[in-house]
């Protein structure tokens, strides 16, 4: 356990009756970084977040939040964090502005000037009653309250749910600013582009267990890049080069994937063929993610677990 980590979760377990929601989950967020938290619905993201918030009590494992125990030190820790739920529920008879003030006062750092700035950026009318807000506008109330705070750690659970693309852009800016201010962010999301753009590290979970974790570069390193090329001659000789997979050729066009380690050798083999065009694409986050939930889900989980642990320990050593 290092004190430089905003969040340290090891082997977290949680049962709801006979359902095992979390089954040894690991999650680390270094202070000052933005951590992506990915997993399909029901994989345990919200449960993990609720344990970190002291709303649920873990059945096993360790969780440390800003150096404290999320269950025992809940009230003290909550002064230093801001949380936006995936479905922000407000008091129907109060206005959005009142709700933001109340949430800010509960934390004790209400700053009306900052609130006013974020209201303008998110284009939210604070004089409307919460019951007349759309889903997106309720999310904005939560986001304004969180970003306007001085919290050291922002915990955002699918926060852009219901926001239009314009507002997603504003959200991206706000997270980047929060990071620039030295704050840490836990961002649970289904929007890969958002996570790729914002997150320093990514944790992918499945069935309450961490299956991949590390920086995007590290995760990509473990995966193959896709290479597409166009040349005048016949590309079929490349198919037999070590490290080349999924080879498809169509006249002068060829597409294949390459293990990262074999990349220099493959490039050396391509050079004599004098390609006219070459595009190398690193695996997208979506591809990384879908690998774990794709065609062979059971195999995927089994074979990726050691990788995940390796990445985890690597992250902890830094």
């Amino acid at each position: 356990m290092t004190t430089s980590n905003a969040v340290n979760v090891e082997g977290l377990e949680k049962n709801f009756g006979s359902t095992r929601a979390l089954d040894g989950l690991n999650l680390t967020i270094e202070t000052g970084t933005v951590a992506g938290f990915l997993g399909p619905n029901g994989s345990g993201k919200t449960t993990t977040i609720r344990i970190l918030l002291g709303l649920l009590k873990a059945d096993g494992g360790h969780a440390t939040l800003l150096g404290g125990d999320p269950w025992k030190d809940a009230v003290e820790l909550h002064r230093r964090i801001a949380y936006v739920a995936g479905d922000v529920t407000l008091w129907p008879s109060l206005t959005g502005g009142q709700a933001i003030d109340i949430l800010g006062s509960l934390r004790g750092d209400l700053d009306r000037i900052r609130v006013e700035q974020f209201l303008q950026r998110f284009d939210l009318d604070p004089t409307k009653k919460a019951r007349s807000y759309s889903k997106g506008n309720r999310q904005k109330v939560g986001l304004v309250a969180a970003f306007a705070s001085r919290a050291e750690l922002l915990i955002l659970d699918e926060p852009t749910n219901g926001l239009d693309p314009l507002m997603e852009g504003v959200f991206t800016e706000c997270v980047a600013e929060a990071k620039a201010e030295g704050r840490s962010v836990l961002l649970s999301s289904h929007v890969f582009a958002e996570v790729e753009k914002l997150c320093d590290t990514v944790t992918i979970i499945r069935d309450g267990r961490t299956v991949e974790s590390g920086t995007l570069a590290e995760l990509r390193h473990l995966q193959r890049s896709t290479i597409t090329l166009t040349l005048d001659g016949d590309p079929s000789s490349l198919e037999t080069v070590g490290g080349v997979h999924d080879f498809v050729a169509d006249g002068g066009h060829a597409t294949f994937t390459v293990d990262s380690a074999a990349l220099p050798a493959v490039l050396a083999a391509i050079a004599p063929l004098k390609p006219r065009e070459l595009v190398s694409t690193p695996p997208s986050l979506e591809e990384l993610f879908l690998r774990h939930y794709g065609v062979h889900p059971v195999d995927g989980a089994g074979s990726e677990a050691p990788q995940a642990e390796a990445a985890q320990s690597e992250a902890a050593q830094r």
Binding site: H78, T89, T95, Q98, A99, P126
Partner: protein, 553 residues
Amino acid sequence: MTTSTAARTHSAPPAVSSNAFTNASTGFGIMVRFILRRNWLRMLIWLVVLAGMVVLVIDSQRELFPTQADRDAYALVANTPAIAALTGLPYAAGTLGGILNIKLWMTMAIALSFAVIFLVTRNGRAEEEAGRTELLRAGVLGNYAYSLANWTVFSAFAILVGLASAGAAISQELPVDGALTMGASFAATALVFLGVSAVAGQLTRTSGGANGLASTVLGISYLVRAVADVQGEGENASWLTWLSPIGWAQQSRSYADNNWWPLLLCVGAAVILLVVALALERGRDLGAGLIPERVGPRSASAALRTQTGLTIRLQRGSIIGWSVGIVVFAMFFGGVATAMADLLSGDSPIAQAFLGGSKNILDGLLGFFLMANALLVAAFVLQSADAIRAAESKGRTEMQWSSAISRIRWAAARMVVPAVWSLVLLAVSGAAIGATFGAAVGQPDQAWRFLGASVAYWPSALLVIGVVVLCAAVIPRAAAAVTWALYAVAVVLSMFGDLFGLPDWVINNTPFTAIPRLGMDFTVLPLVVVTALAVIAGGIGLWVLRNRDMTSA
């Protein structure tokens, strides 16, 4: 269930008729079945309880007044201002049917009306507010089909309860024509308030608002007829009774005149109200109310930023409503007692005979009023403290409990409000009963005696808070049903325990009857015991609340 039915509406045959109304009511049958499926248990419980009460009361009254001589004696003293004001002018009080009407008619008519108001709102405005009506209306469903189905189902329910009540009375060998008139008068009253609820559901945007508006109309109808009955001469109410739908139904005078024509007024009013509701619905957008939504302040005041201030603000409407209602009823109780005091201190031989132990009977009656008043305050307390459970079940605790406030402090603010306000209400309403009573008998200082006797019920109110917190913590999902059921049991035992022939040790040891009544020797022990129970229940509740998982919305 909603989605499966929505899916079924897609498979309904497309409307081929060009008739506008047929188009507008496409899917009516499916909606009727849908509403029945979601509400049959509720309706069945109401039906069994209401019809069962008819049987129970007839049975108990037959035991109480076994011979015709007993009933004739009762008839001579039945016509008191208290009876007139609370349950209507007695007539035919020498018959079992007439006695049934005195004891039960008003309770049945009001209870059934409330049932219909709540059911129509629950399936109408509340569904619209939750966005589920949108899902249905997007299917192949006529614009009016859902509302028409809603009103049809609960009109049928009201008529069925009327028939069941008549059947229950007939099974107890009451006259058939009287029983049928009585049943019809219950149904007719309920139909009017079904119409009121339908219109209210068009005017307001929220289900709470719709229930509040319709209940207010019911309350005014009750008070108008109360005034009419108190002003009445002999067995005949003043003309004011014709201003109240409840008055119309009363004028059917079952078991005496069996007039059916006043009930036609009720049915006519119901039809007009439903037509108005339909016209209003046609003229508005889905989800909107006709009373416009106002904008509010863009920031929270300093008071609102405290937990207690927030609690008071969220319950503001409810607190004002309950307070006004309780004080009005307290003055009403006091006023009734004044009229009774006149009767009892009069020279009439009946009054002298009725007096028996002189002042004790009067004190007993006033003590009963004070307890009834305390039970009303307890209902307010229950509703107020229930915010602890409601906030969690509606998902509002997620943001609050992840703020810098402990769950205990959070819950405490929601306990302090009902605790303090119940003390104020008990004091004010007790003093109001005493003052209105004292004014009549020329003893203005009576207010203090009544204030004291009323405040003695404060521990009972605290116990209600303790039990509500305990239930919210231990059984969050069932808490609302359990606490209201416990309250209903306490009301029945405290007020009607004698009626059901329960043993004295049960009747005298509810959290309300255990408190020394006005005129009884005051002992502090019951207050200490009830307070201790309140502290224990509340303490365990808070401890559990602190140490359990938050339940998901």
